[in-house]
């Protein structure tokens, strides 16, 4: 059998080629879109071939480890530029290139007529490259390169409309881009420190064992147990386990990239980017890389139960906060943004509980249906000429048939309604929390699930049902073109059937249950949980009830009280609690007052007092001025009269001669 390991190098190579072509060769919109889409589709095909190669490989390793070259080699610090392909990477690359390809094609329609389409597609391809490096790196440093690369592309694409001073709902794209970048830097500091700690304690950054110059070096994941009992002395703060410290630092990185409490504030503002970007980067792929990171470093987190507990706490808190915030938003994309944060909290809580497969399962299904929802919202925004405020929409059901039914499928999948994809993955997480008798977490997650269903019901009611609330918007509304409709249909099919990936054990001994568990077994060895039918019934009933309740309230009961520019009726009943949810419980306000303003004050002090007065005033201008004044004093000596100079010569000569003559 021919070894097909080289195929995995093609996976990131195609988008890289597409990026380079778009940057250096292509100048026309149509060519740019086609090349970019083709690159990602080819990459997707490479993934399929690579999975075939993985299944049929001769060695029993269950992973392909392809070292392309020695990347960094300084003393004992050796980092190979190596790509890894194992079942976990396989499902991630499938999601990235699959959903990514669909979104690329959709973008051809969405970005048509934009001022900078070629640049847009180039960045989109670059993002795919970086994301693939993130999930395929065989060491933490290469993962970090991808991690930073996706952050860069996120920055570039949020700021795609950098020349617009404001996009709905009043966000400045360039500021939102900077915010995303800066907030992510905070998390990246944790990543860097974690890498340093791993290298200093375990001597390597590669995940698994490597053959270097004939000798086998173990990867750090295989050595996690060796250092599990090592302690780190923090002086007056006591001691902390090394592994716990590393996990906490990694978690800091996760909270940045995956938008968890307390660093989630950048994601709602990231909606200033074009909607396909929100779908690809800020819903389906990039923000899930934190979940991937925890799943990949499973060995570390399992060696530190306290860190894992903290992960669960962060996840549940995020899920609750964001789900309540999503209730009170008016902007289509902001609802989805908070919903994304909340679902990411679900995944993080899942991997923290040790339900790695369930977390990855939810990551995959969420990637599909959230991309569908974002693309659907893009279709609505496109069809209503940049209307994002749901108070101006309403009654779009008959004008946008395809968008309507695909969006409904996405909403039901997100709400966790049987039999759509979200039901299976969400239920597995809740079931796991119940099974390990962590009832607080289980109840919180069920509550989040009910809230999710409620705000999705509210959203579809506001957009598609009731009567149109804005005459002008209503008259211009039209369904989007075929190139935007077909991606929606494909993703809608995905949102229906994605649950098949990991169904519970089927009755009557039928095959097909827990496929994902089986597939991921070599990486995430984990017992498939039993299916808790009463619990599933309860959660589904709750979700269905909330969805219907949200829909009924906003499509019928409260429909007449929703006016453009007016507060939500919920504000009337809940007052400041509603307001708090609308501003996502004031994290932005807190950062504004606790960090940004003091920082600005310090910057102003440094600029005016330290720099302008001390450094410029005393050091630079002071010295120059002092010498100037001294020179001013003695410049009179140079009179220009030759005879005066001659007299001074003479006096000098007389003095010298007298000195030597009479000493």
């Amino acid at each position: 059998m021919p070894e097909l390991t080289w195929v995995i190098a093609l996976i990131p190579a195609f988008p890289l080629l597409g990026f380079l072509l778009n940057v250096f060769v292509i100048r026309r919109e149509r060519a740019a879109g086609l090349v970019a889409s083709a690159a990602v589709v080819l990459s997707f095909i490479s993934v399929l071939v690579a999975i075939y190669a993985l299944q049929t490989q001769t060695q029993d390793l269950n992973r392909i480890d392809l070292v392309l070259w020695d990347w960094i080699s300084v003393g004992t610090f050796r980092v190979p530029f190596g790509l890894l392909f194992d079942p976990l990477t396989a499902v991630m690359t499938l999601l990235v290139t699959g959903v990514g390809g669909i979104i690329h094609i959709y973008s051809i329609g969405y970005i048509h007529g934009d001022a900078r389409p070629v640049r847009y597609f180039a960045y989109l391809n670059l993002f795919i490259v970086a994301m693939l490096l993130l999930v395929m790196g065989n060491n933490l440093l290469l993962l970090f390169m991808g991690w930073e690369g996706v952050g860069l592309c996120s920055f570039l694409l949020i700021g795609h409309w950098f020349d617009r001073r404001s996009v709905p709902p009043g966000i400045v794209p360039s500021e939102a881009a900077v915010k995303a970048f800066v907030v992510n830097r905070v998390g990246d500091a944790g990543m860097l420190l974690a890498m340093m700690a791993i290298f200093s304690r375990m001597g390597t950054l590669t995940f698994f064992s490597q053959n270097l110059n004939g000798q086998t070096l173990p990867g750090f994941l295989e050595r996690a147990q060796d250092v599990a009992s090592a302690q780190l002395d923090l002086g007056t703060f006591g001691t902390i386990g090394i592994v716990t410290a590393i996990c906490m630092l990694l978690l800091l990185g996760v909270t940045g990239k995956s938008a968890q409490v307390p660093l989630f504030v950048w994601l709602p503002d990231a909606m200033a980017g074009p909607t396909p970007v929100s779908a690809l980067i800020h819903a389906a792929t990039m923000v899930t890389s934190g979940v991937y990171l925890i799943a990949r470093n499973q060995a570390l987190f399992e060696a530190s139960p306290s860190a894992a507990g903290f992960v669960v706490a962060i996840g549940v808190l995020t899920a609750l906060l964001a789900a309540t915030a999503a209730l009170a938003q008016w902007d289509i994309k902001r609802v989805l943004a908070y919903s994304t944060i909340s679902q990411l909290g679900y995944m993080v809580a899942a991997v923290g509980m040790g339900a790695y497969v369930a977390g990855i399962f939810h990551l995959l299904t969420h990637g599909v249906f959230k991309a569908l929802l974002f693309l659907g919202s893009g279709s609505i925004i496109h069809g209503t000429h940049d209307t994002q405020d749901m108070r101006k929409l309403g009654g779009l059901k008959d004008k946008m048939r395809t968008t309507w039914w695909t969006y409904m499928i996405g909403a039901l999948a997100l709400a966790g309604i049987f039999p759509f994809a979200g039901f299976w993955s969400k239920d597995e997480i809740i079931g796991r929390a119940w099974a390990i008798q962590n009832y607080t977490t289980a109840v919180a997650l069920i509550a989040v699930s009910a809230l999710t269903a409620f705000y999705m019901g509210r959203q579809v009611a506001l957009i598609f049902y009731g009567r149109p609330r804005d005459r002008e918007v209503e008259q211009h509304t039209h369904e989007s073109g075929a190139i935007m409709r077909w991606p929606l249909i494909v993703l809608a099919v995905g949102a229906v059937i994605a649950g098949l990936m990991n169904l519970p054990p089927l009755p009557f001994e039928l095959p097909g249950g827990h496929l994902l568990n089986e597939f991921l077994k070599p990486v995430l060895a984990e017992e498939a949980p039993a299916f808790n039918i009463p619990l599933a019934l309860v959660t589904t009933a709750l979700a269905l009830g909330s969805f219907y309740g949200g829909w009924y309230l906003y499509a019928h009961t409260l429909a007449n009280r929703i006016k453009v520019g007016k507060e939500d009726p919920g504000y009337h009943y809940l007052g400041d609690i509603w307001k708090g949810a609308e501003i996502a419980w004031g994290f932005d306000w807190f950062y504004e007052h606790a960090i940004i303003r003091p920082y600005r004050a310090i910057a102003r002090f440094l600029s005016t007092v330290v720099d302008q007065q001390a450094i410029d005033g005393i050091l630079v201008d002071g010295f120059a001025g002092g010498f100037g004044r001294i020179a001013q004093g003695i410049r009179g000596a140079q009179s220009g009269y030759v005879r005066t100079y001659a007299l001074i010569f003479l006096v000098g000569v007389i003095v010298l001669v007298s000195y030597f003559a009479f000493r």
Binding site: G636, Q638, S639, G640, Y641, V642, R643, A646, L650
Partner: protein, 100 residues
């Protein structure tokens, strides 16, 4: 034979005249002539001491002084002509544009 001290005295008088000429006169030509006077007073002193000490060194040095003086005058006069061409004057107090 005239005593050596007379020559030295004459040399000193000539030198003093030269210095005074440089210091008090404003005509650049006269200043030049005064400088020549100082050089020649020095020549006189050199020759006198050479004669008194029966040594040729002093006399040879005089030839060098004369040569250098000739070169100096050539340069000086050329400068003077150039200055007169632009300033229409040889008054050295008028040529003071390099003052601080």
């Amino acid at each position: 034979m005239v005593p050596t001290s007379y020559f030295i005295l004459l040399s000193g008088v000539l030198f003093t005249l030269g210095v005074l000429g440089v210091l008090v006169r404003r005509n650049a030509l006269v200043v030049f002539m005064s400088i020549e006077l100082m050089l020649n007073s020095a020549n006189l002193a050199l020759v006198t001491f050479a004669q008194a000490r029966q040594s040729l060194g002093g006399q040879i040095l005089v030839f060098f002084v004369i040569t250098v003086a000739a070169a100096e005058v050539a340069v000086g006069l050329a400068l003077l002509v150039a200055i007169f061409g632009t300033k229409r004057t040889t008054d050295i107090d008028e040529i003071s544009s390099l003052k601080g």
